[in-house]
C-alpha cells in the first residue's frame, strides 16, 4: 500500500518538500545542541524541563485520543466511525513518534538512551513510559495497517488483530496516565502533586485530539475525495464538547483546592501562571488566552446550531486545540518549576534554536502523518472508484 504515497499531485510534493526543509533546519540546530549541550535552550538549573517535554506531554494526549474513535466503533459497534478509525490510529502513530523524538532531543546524553533498557528500573516512571509509548506505537501501526489492507482487499481483518484492538483501548488510557505519573508523584512539586492530574490529562487529550481530528477531516475532504461524513464529524464534535467541559471542570477543581486551602505550595504556581509572582509573569497573557479560547469553544460547542455549522465548528476546534496546547505545551511543565523548591523565581522562555528544533520534530510528525494519510485516502479513493 505504501506505493500510494509515491504518487501525488504537485501540492503534495511541495508540502512534503516544505516539511523536509523544516526538518533539515531543525536537524541542523539539533546537531548544534548535540555538540554544545542543552545550554543552547532556555532551560536552567531551576526550570529543567521546558518546551520539549511540554510538547511531549501534549502530544501523548493527541496520540491517546485515537481511542475516542476505536472505542465507540469496536466496543459499541458504532459503524459511523468505521470509515475513520484508521485516521485516528495513524494520527496516534505520528504523535507517538513525535513524543519519542521530543524525549530524545531533551536528553543530555542521547547516545546513552539504551541505558534505560540495559538497566531496567521499574521504580522509575520513565521506564514505564518507554514501555507504554513503544507498545502503543507498535499496536497502532499494526492495527491501522492491517485493517486498512483488509479493507482494500475486501476481506475481514485477520483474526489475531481483534485482541490487539481490544488491548489498544486500555493501552491508550495508560500512555497518558503514565505520562501524568511522571509528574504527579514528585514530592516537592505542589503544582503537579494532585491525584486529578491523570484524569485531567485524559480530559484535555480527548478534547484536543478529536478537535484536531475534525480539522484533519476538513483538510482531507478539501484535498482528496475522501469524506469522513457529517455524522462522524458531528459525533466527534460532541465528544470534544464533553471532554472540553470535563477538562475545564477538573481545572476548576484544582483552582478550588488551591485557592480555598490557601496552602502556599499549591497556590504559588497558579498565582505565577495567572497573575504573576513577585513581579514575574511571562506566561500570564498566555494562560488567560488559553482560558478565553476554551470558554469560547465551549460556548460554540454547546449551542447546537453553532456546533452543526461547520465554519463555527472549525473555529471551536481551533480554539480547543490552541487553548489546550497553551495549557499543556506552555504552562503545565514550566509552571510546575516556577517557583523552584527554594521558592525562588527563575523564568523560562524557549530560545530560537529550541523552537526550531521543536518545529523540526513537528515536521517529522506531519511528514509521517501526510504519508500515512496519503495511503489511507488513496485506498479509500480506489475503493470508491
Amino acid at each position: 500500500m505504501l506505493e500510494k504515497a509515491l504518487r501525488g499531485s504537485k501540492k503534495y510534493w511541495t508540502w512534503l518538500l516544505a516539511l523536509a526543509v523544516l526538518i533539515a533546519i531543525g536537524f541542523f540546530f539539533y546537531l548544534r545542541q548535540l555538540y554544545f549541550g542543552l545550554g543552547i535552550t532556555g532551560m536552567s538549573r531551576d526550570v529543567t524541563w521546558g518546551f520539549y517535554i511540554a510538547q511531549f506531554t501534549f502530544l501523548v494526549g493527541v496520540a491517546a485520543s485515537a481511542v475516542m474513535l476505536v472505542l465507540p466503533y469496536y466496543l459499541h459497534d458504532y459503524k459511523t466511525f468505521g470509515k475513520i478509525t484508521v485516521i485516528g490510529e495513524f494520527l496516534a502513530v505520528s504523535s507517538v513518534l513525535m513524543c519519542m523524538l521530543f524525549i530524545i532531543v531533551d536528553l543530555g546524553q542521547p547516545m546513552r538512551l539504551l541505558n534505560v533498557i540495559f538497566y531496567p528500573t521499574p521504580n522509575s516512571m520513565l521506564f514505564w513510559d518507554m514501555i507504554v509509548l513503544n507498545g502503543y506505537l507498535f499496536l497502532n501501526i499494526l492495527i491501522g495497517w492491517n485493517v486498512l489492507d483488509a479493507e482494500r482487499n475486501g476481506v475481514a481483518p485477520e483474526k489475531w488483530i481483534k485482541p490487539l484492538i481490544y488491548i489498544s483501548i486500555p493501552w491508550a488510557i495508560s500512555i497518558h496516565t503514565v505520562t501524568a505519573f511522571l509528574y504527579c508523584g514528585l514530592p516537592g512539586r505542589g503544582f503537579w502533586l494532585t491525584a486529578i492530574l491523570a484524569p485531567r490529562f485524559l480530559a484535555s487529550a480527548f478534547a484536543a485530539g478529536p478537535a484536531f481530528l475534525i480539522l484533519l477531516a476538513f483538510i482531507i475532504r478539501k484535498f482528496t475525495n475522501f469524506d469522513a461524513g457529517t455524522k462522524a464529524i458531528q459525533t466527534l464534535a460532541k465528544i470534544v464538547a464533553y471532554a472540553t467541559l470535563a477538562n475545564l471542570f477538573f481545572f476548576l477543581c484544582e483552582v478550588f483546592v488551591a485557592a480555598y486551602s490557601q496552602i502556599p505550595e499549591h497556590t504559588a504556581h497558579l498565582e505565577y501562571l495567572f497573575f504573576g509572582l513577585h513581579g514575574h509573569g511571562a506566561l500570564v497573557p498566555w494562560m488567560w488566552t488559553s482560558i478565553a479560547l476554551v470558554v469560547a469553544a465551549i460556548i460554540l460547542l454547546i449551542i447546537p446550531q453553532a456546533r452543526q455549522n461547520e465554519t463555527t465548528l472549525g473555529f471551536a476546534c481551533v480554539f480547543v486545540f490552541v487553548g489546550i496546547w497553551i495549557d499543556k505545551g506552555l504552562g503545565m511543565i514550566s509552571g510546575g518549576f516556577i517557583p523552584n523548591p527554594l521558592h525562588e523565581i527563575t523564568e523560562y522562555v524557549p530560545t530560537v534554536p529550541e523552537v526550531l528544533i521543536t518545529i523540526g520534530v513537528y515536521a517529522v510528525g506531519f511528514l509521517v502523518l501526510t504519508v500515512l494519510y496519503k495511503v489511507v485516502t488513496g485506498v479509500k479513493e480506489e475503493l470508491a472508484g
Partner: protein, 270 residues
C-alpha cells in the same frame, strides 16, 4: 504488477526486521559470552582502605548560628575547587545554567514551608548553607530510569554515576531541595584549577554533592566540614555516640521539608 510490488515491499520490510533482530541476537550472545568468560569471577573487588571512615548512615549537623558570609564562601570554594565544579561565567551564569553543590541562601529559601513570622532580623538574613540532603528515602533515586543515581547501601550516601546518566533530568524534577545541577555545556573550559584526583564531568549529565565520598574513603572528612570553622559537624547518624548524635541530643535541630517524608540526613540548628 500491484501485487508483486507489494510482495517486494513486504519482503524488504521483513528483511530489514530480520537484520535488526539478527544484530540484536549477536549483541545479546556477545553479552552472555562476556558474562561467562573466565575473568568474570575476577572482577575488581573494591575493599575499603585502612584509613577509610565508615558509617551506617552519614549525616551532618549545620549550626546556622556559627555561619557567616565568609565561612560560607570558604566552604563553597573548598567544595567546588576539589570537585572541579566550573566557575559560572557569561551567558551560562545569566541563564542560571550553573552548577552548585553547596551554597548559602536565606532562612526563608532554605525552609520555605517552615516560615517564621517576625523572625529576628539577624536570623532572617544570616546565611543558611544548603546542599544535597542525602535523604534516607531519596525521591531522586526513585525517579532515575537507569539507576545512575543511587543510595549507597554501605553508608547511605546518595551518589551519581556520571557515565551512566542519560541526562533526562528526572532526578532534578524529583528533588524537593533543588540540590542537583545539570551540565548544560562542557564544564571543562570553565574549571580554573583542575583537581586531577576527582573526575571532571562532560556536558549533558547531572551532578550534585557526594558528601565527599572520595575523601571519606581515605579517612578525610568532607571538605566543607573542614572549612566550616566548626559550623558543620559530620558523623554517623546511626551511632548514638557520634558527634552528630550528641549534638542532636543536646540542641533542637530541624530538617528541610520534613513533611515530604524524604528523611534528610542534614540537620540544622537555628
Amino acid at each position: 504488477m500491484e501485487n508483486s510490488r507489494r510482495r517486494f515491499l513486504k519482503n524488504a520490510g521483513f528483511s530489514i526486521l530480520g537484520v535488526g533482530a539478527g544484530s540484536m541476537l549477536i549483541g545479546l550472545s556477545a553479552h552472555t559470552s562476556k558474562a561467562v568468560s573466565p575473568d568474570a569471577g575476577q572482577r575488581p573487588q573494591f575493599s575499603m582502605g585502612d584509613k577509610a571512615m565508615e558509617a551506617e548512615r552519614w549525616g551532618m549537623v549545620v549550626d546556622t548560628r556559627k555561619l557567616n558570609d565568609s565561612i560560607c564562601r570558604k566552604m563553597q570554594e573548598a567544595c567546588h575547587s576539589i570537585h572541579n565544579v566550573p566557575e559560572p561565567v557569561g551567558e551560562s551564569a545569566q541563564r542560571d545554567q550553573i552548577i552548585k553543590w553547596i551554597w548559602p541562601t536565606e532562612f526563608q529559601h532554605a525552609f520555605p514551608s517552615q516560615e517564621v513570622e517576625f523572625l529576628a532580623e539577624d536570623a532572617a538574613h544570616r546565611p543558611v548553607v544548603v546542599l544535597c540532603n542525602h535523604c534516607d528515602n531519596p525521591p531522586c533515586v526513585r525517579a532515575c530510569p537507569t539507576r545512575a543515581t543511587f543510595k549507597r547501601e554501605r553508608d547511605g550516601i546518595v551518589m551519581m554515576d556520571f557515565h551512566r546518566c542519560i541526562g533526562c533530568r528526572f532526578c532534578m524534577a524529583a528533588c524537593p531541595f533543588g540540590a542537583r545541577s545539570f551540565n548544560f555545556r562542557d564544564p571543562r573550559p570553565d574549571i580554573e584549577d583542575e583537581n586531577p584526583d576527582f573526575p571532571t564531568r562532560m556536558r549533558g549529565v547531572v551532578e550534585k554533592c557526594n558528601f565527599c565520598a572520595e575523601r571519606l574513603a581515605v579517612g578525610k572528612k568532607p571538605a566543607c566540614v573542614e572549612a566550616s570553622d566548626g559550623a558543620l559537624t559530620f558523623g554517623d547518624l546511626n551511632d548514638p555516640d557520634s558527634d552528630v548524635r550528641k549534638l542532636l541530643a543536646e540542641k533542637y535541630a530541624i530538617r528541610r521539608k520534613p513533611n515530604l517524608g524524604t528523611f534528610p540526613s542534614v540537620f540544622y540548628i537555628v
